[in-house]
Amino acid sequence: MMPDGRRVHASRMSLPQTLAQKLIAKAAGLAQVQVGDVVTCDVDLAMFHDSSGPRRLKPMMDELGAQLWDPSKVVLVLDHYVPAVSDEAKKIVHITRDTAVRWQLPHVIDSEGICHVVLPERGYLKPGMLCVGGDSHSPTGGAFGAYMFGIGATEMLGVVVTGKIWVQVPRTLRMHWQGQLTPGVSAKDMMLHMIGRLGMNGGQYQAIEFAGPAVKALGMQERMTLSNMSAELGAQVGLIAADQVTTDYLRSVGVADEYLHEAESWQTDEGAACETTDFDANALSPQVAAPHSPANTRPVDEYLNTPIDIAYIGACTGAKLEDLRAAATVLKGFRVDARVQLMVAPASARDQAQAEQEGVMQILRDAGAQVLPNTCGACAGYGGTFAENKTVISSTARNFKARMGPASVQVYLASPWTVAASAMRGRISDVRQML
């Protein structure tokens, strides 16, 4: 035992290591770590937003008389309470902006998209980092080979004061996807299927690693959808080892070459201890999670023809550029059913601008979509929520009772493909029959 509580097992130095172990060891300044060890890690990046951030942190920082350990490693995103509608929301946004100035935060992204999407699109996330976020969907960063997880505001206080956080080295649960997805089936379906099979705490707060040819075949935003919903699997992180797809993306968002040379070295060693679950992408059909849990997932066949009132394409989970493209592929040249209200809240301003340029946004508007701001919107249930007794199909991550509206609202979760197909027909539909 080292004096600061870190442990080194010299006799096991040669054991193969998982990606999770390697990332934690690096952040803890150790050669190796063993599953179950509790270690103190240096934090490379701390992200918080207008709900979890200054409005909670500033009073505690003032009470402590403390300073930020390193403002250059902090990213503040305004995405939950913007645009502010109520007086309370206006106060929260005011405190957030005011604190950003007082603390001289160099990295503030205000009303330009959802935190988990704007972080990577601005090149903040790189393989090998250990990051924390003041939001439960922070495991999204795992898609970039970073050990990123969500924490609450008080734990964030500890991070911004000390620059450190404790981690218990997790076991690795490998989700191995063989085969190839078929048209109209996407990362969201993979995720809903895994949650349906393993349950909302099936991840046991361990490290999930997504692997196999069907994962490697995904683009970065689809990989983000997998890592994002690791939260709904109850994992601490949802990692995907970096490859050419990752480094190409990082280069495209301006990450310097010096960070890319070693990116692909962040891999689980052959023979490292993992608990593997196998999945077959070829056999996967579109999936739908019925109210009121993502774990209530079944193949779309079992919910076919359920009438819907609202189709919602939004959130960090389901309104990135690739999600908008998917919806447009389905809706091109059509209008949604007259009984359905289609809402689209693109996950970031940059994704929306690109979708405009590609004609994707026009296809969605022509189909009858109401386009909403680039924020968390209805997903968090903090802003405008759905009316009593509505049945909703949504590309978001959670359908907990009373989350997106009153308790009478019934929310079905599905991929953007399935949401678009269902909007077109006014009832839950199998998108594969419409492509």
Binding site: D4, G5, G36, V38, V39, T40, S51, S52, M60, E63, L64, G65, A66, Y81, S86, E88, A89, I92, G133, G134, D135, S136, S138, F149, G150, I151, G152, A153, T154, E155, L157, G158, V161, T162, K164, I165, W166, Q168, G199, M200, N201, Q204, Y205, A231, G234, Q236, S293, A295, A380, G381, Y382, T385, R398, F400, K401, A402, R403, A407
Partner: protein, 178 residues
């Protein structure tokens, strides 16, 4: 009485998969904890916030606290005076948040044996029923118990303000964190 023990604590029972949005509903998240707490658990036990008494404990099914990182889910229970939550399993994120706020969580496989309205004693390691039955709980690492003792990480940071600190400095030999 230490924050790590309790006696004559009345049980409130709820089911499995109680999520953060049930504990701290999104519609009230723009308000302070005193408002959020008034709506804690209202969709499953509408009478809870108005009738729970300081010193009571909450007993739940598996996967307590799944969902959001909003620590107000734990904060609302603390605000209402809940001494501890006893459940067979917790969300890992909620587990960290609860201890960071100073809320004691007891991971206890037999939690579902406990009945609504009965009173419990906790000696720091085991839960005692009036029937004489004793329920074992998973050990909690010392550094998390320190947070409960201090009344949360904020208080701990205040105490440690003038000396270098290392979270996870003291640890149990085989910590069970979730």
């Amino acid at each position: 009485m230490s924050r790590l023990t309790f006696d004559q604590a009345k049980v409130w029972r709820v089911g499995a998969d109680i999520d953060t949005d049930v504990l701290a509903p999104g519609a009230y998240m723009q308000h302070g904890i005193e408002v959020i707490a008034q709506h804690c658990l209202e969709s499953v036990r509408p009478e809870f916030a108005a009738t729970v008494r300081p010193g009571d404990v909450l007993v739940a099914g598996a996967n307590f606290g799944i969902g959001s990182s909003r620590e107000q889910a734990a904060g609302a229970l603390l605000h209402l005076g809940i001494r501890a939550v006893i459940a067979p399993s917790f969300s890992g994120l909620f587990f960290r948040n609860a201890f960071n706020l100073g809320l004691l969580l007891l991971t206890c496989e037999q939690a579902l044996n406990l009945q609504e309205g009965e009173t419990l004693r906790f000696d720091g390691q085991q839960v005692h029923r009036v029937t004489g039955e004793i329920l074992r709980c998973s050990p909690i690492p010392d550094f998390l118990l320190d947070m409960v003792r201090a009344g949360g990480l904020l208080n701990l940071l205040k105490q440690q303000r003038h000396r270098p600190m290392s979270l996870g400095e003291s640890e149990a030999s085989s910590p069970t964190l979730s």
